[in-house]
């Protein structure tokens, strides 16, 4: 069976969930061979093996942290040369897409970004994309070279599928371009203790209707009662009420949780672009005409300052 390269997104050896989802999709197309780079690369092996990686190619060097994108492209190119895979799968983060693009160009292959599903076919992997703010679903293929495909978080279930996960050192020679863009400083994001927005099963978002940074405490309490991540519309972010890292939509994060709760959000096309593929959608808005109600499974027309606290209370009561 042909091998499929899976690029591993990890933090100091802790594998992030979208990579485990990629392994599920990779197994449909071939035998997953993972590529883990940077500090802690070898520590990823156990989790990757547990989810189906037959091999884990690792390499660590200071360049991965000190320079932008290109060192990782060099490493993946080396992995492609070593393995001759049937496809290369990469998580659809901003950086993942940039790595994928440069890799595709170098190896003479087409690229598909933001796939939400992947199936095998006689003509290679077929990717499903959700486009035009999720109003259309397309099926596409890479028609030249080794398909390079980036996949959005929450596109597949994480499945246990124990495999060998043999660690092998990857031989990497950095290109002249590798050191072109220096990372001169790095401020890690502070952890909020809440689930990662793109990975969360439940997302609770607030918009302009929340009317002030201090009122976001209401949204946070609701989120915490459900073990959810907190999101925000661009209007709320632009007003300075909530950090941009929590923005949901076209120029923020794209989320696809089991449940999305929108409070005080009108449902503009650019917001929908980031949440329309959520399984169950709930909205609280005082305007019965707000477009967000076109999307909902359940909607409450009312003042969020009444509805949200009552909902939070009721959830706490029911959960005991």
């Amino acid at each position: 069976m042909a091998e499929v390269l899976v690029y591993v997104d990890h933090v100091d050896g802790a594998v992030r969930k979208p990579t485990l989802e990629l392994l599920t999709l990779a197994r449909r197309v071939g035998e997953p061979v993972a590529v883990a780079l940077g500090a802690g690369a070898a520590d990823t092996a156990a989790a990757l093996a547990e989810h189906g990686a037959v091999k884990v190619l690792t390499h660590d060097a200071a360049e991965y942290a000190d320079y932008l994108v290109v060192p990782k492209v060099d490493a993946l190119q080396a992995a492609v040369a070593a393995v001759s895979p049937a496809a290369v799968l990469i998580p659809s983060s901003a950086e993942g897409k940039e790595i994928a693009a440069r890799l595709a160009l170098r190896i003479g292959s087409g690229i598909i970004t933001d796939a939400v599903d992947l199936e095998a076919s006689d003509e290679g992997p077929v990717a499903t994309q959700s486009v035009f703010a999720a109003s259309f679903t397309t099926k596409s293929r890479v028609s030249k070279g080794t398909p390079v495909i980036t996949v959005k978080p929450n596109s597949a279930a994480v499945e246990a599928a124990p495999a060998a996960g043999a660690v092998e050192a990857l031989d990497v020679t950095f290109s002249a371009q590798a050191t072109g863009t220096k990372v001169t400083g790095r401020t890690p994001r502070e952890s909020t203790g809440r689930p990662e927005l793109t990975e969360a099963a439940i997302v609770v978002s607030g918009g302009r209707g929340v009317n002030g940074a201090e009122n976001f405490a209401l949204i946070e309490s609701l989120a915490d009662s459900l073990g959810a991540a907190v999101g925000a519309s661009r209007a709320a972010v632009d007003a300075g009420w909530y950090p941009h890292t929590n923005q949901v939509g076209q120029t923020g994060k794209s989320v696809s949780p089991q449940l999305y709760i929108a409070s005080g959000i009108s449902g503009a096309i650019q917001h929908r672009a980031g949440m329309q593929t959520s399984k169950t959608i709930v909205a609280i808005n005082k305007d019965a005409e707000a477009p967000i109600f076109d999307l909902v499974d359940y909607g409450v027309v009312g003042d969020l300052f009444d509805v949200v606290p009552q909902l939070t209370e009721e959830i706490k009561v029911r959960k005991g």
Partner: protein, 261 residues
């Protein structure tokens, strides 16, 4: 010496219109109004600010697109860019990201540049890959997804807000930069700007001007293929209740029924 800035701008169908696909599964550009991608306005804005801070700078806006894409160039010129290049050729219809980056890179090289500034992503394809592809093709540093950018003494610096961390980046010119919608509101064209734009030069280039062959671009030359496009089925209409004092409890009841509580 003059700082030569090339801003890549895309002409896209209006996101608030009824966007859809034509029979050949390319974007139908006939039925929906087009405009300069809003996210490329941020690129034009940063170019204008960088030019204002430089002793001497010249901003060229560049688009690859159909006849009407001239509207996008006019808008950028009316914001204050100096001149424009329109790459237009019937054979470009259906070009994918790899092909688009080839045409853009050829045009950028022909125009001459010290700094390329792109948007973070287009509002139609939304891939967010063209700037990285341009850096790869041009063989210059990629300094992308910046929320803050400055150029001084031949060095570009900026802040990139990533998922895990916020990073400070630095590279020597020539370089390719892309900016996010956090980089600062784009200015509106002034009346004077709109009038002045009418007199600014717009050059038209076709594939032969860039030494490119038809087979290298377009649907035929694409390295990707779209097999099908289907409208997403409308979501089934949900239950909507008016809060009469029990709205929060009713919602909790719904969530419990769906096993979320």
């Amino acid at each position: 010496m003059s700082l030569r800035i090339v801003v890549t701008v895309k002409y896209v169908p209006d996101a608030t219109g009824d966007r859809h696909f034509a029979d050949d599964l390319t974007v139908d550009r006939d039925d929906v109004d087009g405009l300069l991608s809003e996210l490329d306005e941020y690129a034009v804005e940063q170019a204008l600010q960088i030019a204002e801070d430089a002793d001497d700078a010249e901003i060229t806006v560049l688009t690859v697109g159909p006849e009407d894409a001239k509207d996008a160039l006019r808008k950028a010129l009316s914001m204050g860019a100096d001149k424009a290049i329109h790459v237009e050729d019937d054979d470009l219809h259906g070009t994918d990201a790899i092909g688009t980056s080839l045409v853009l890179a050829k045009a950028i090289e022909k125009a001459g540049y010290d700094l390329v500034i792109s948007g973070m992503a287009s509002t139609d394809g939304t891939m967010g890959v063209v700037p990285a592809l341009l850096a790869e093709r041009l063989g210059v540093p990629q300094v992308t997804l910046l929320s803050e950018v400055s150029v001084e003494d031949g060095v570009v610096k900026g802040r990139r807000d990533g998922d895990a961390a916020s990073e400070q980046l630095e590279a020597s010119l020539p370089a390719v930069v892309s900016v996010t919608d956090q980089s600062g509101e784009a200015r509106y064209p002034s009346f004077k700007g709109i009038m002045a734009a009418k007199k600014k030069p717009v050059q038209s280039w076709d594939l032969s001007d860039l030494d490119l062959e038809a087979e290298e671009v377009g649907l035929e030359g694409a390295w990707t293929a779209v097999d099908s496009a289907a409208a997403r089925p409308a979501r089934t209409a949900g239950t909507i209740v008016k809060d009469e004092g029990e709205g929060g409890k009713q919602l909790a009841e719904f969530l419990a029924g769906q096993k979320f509580i």
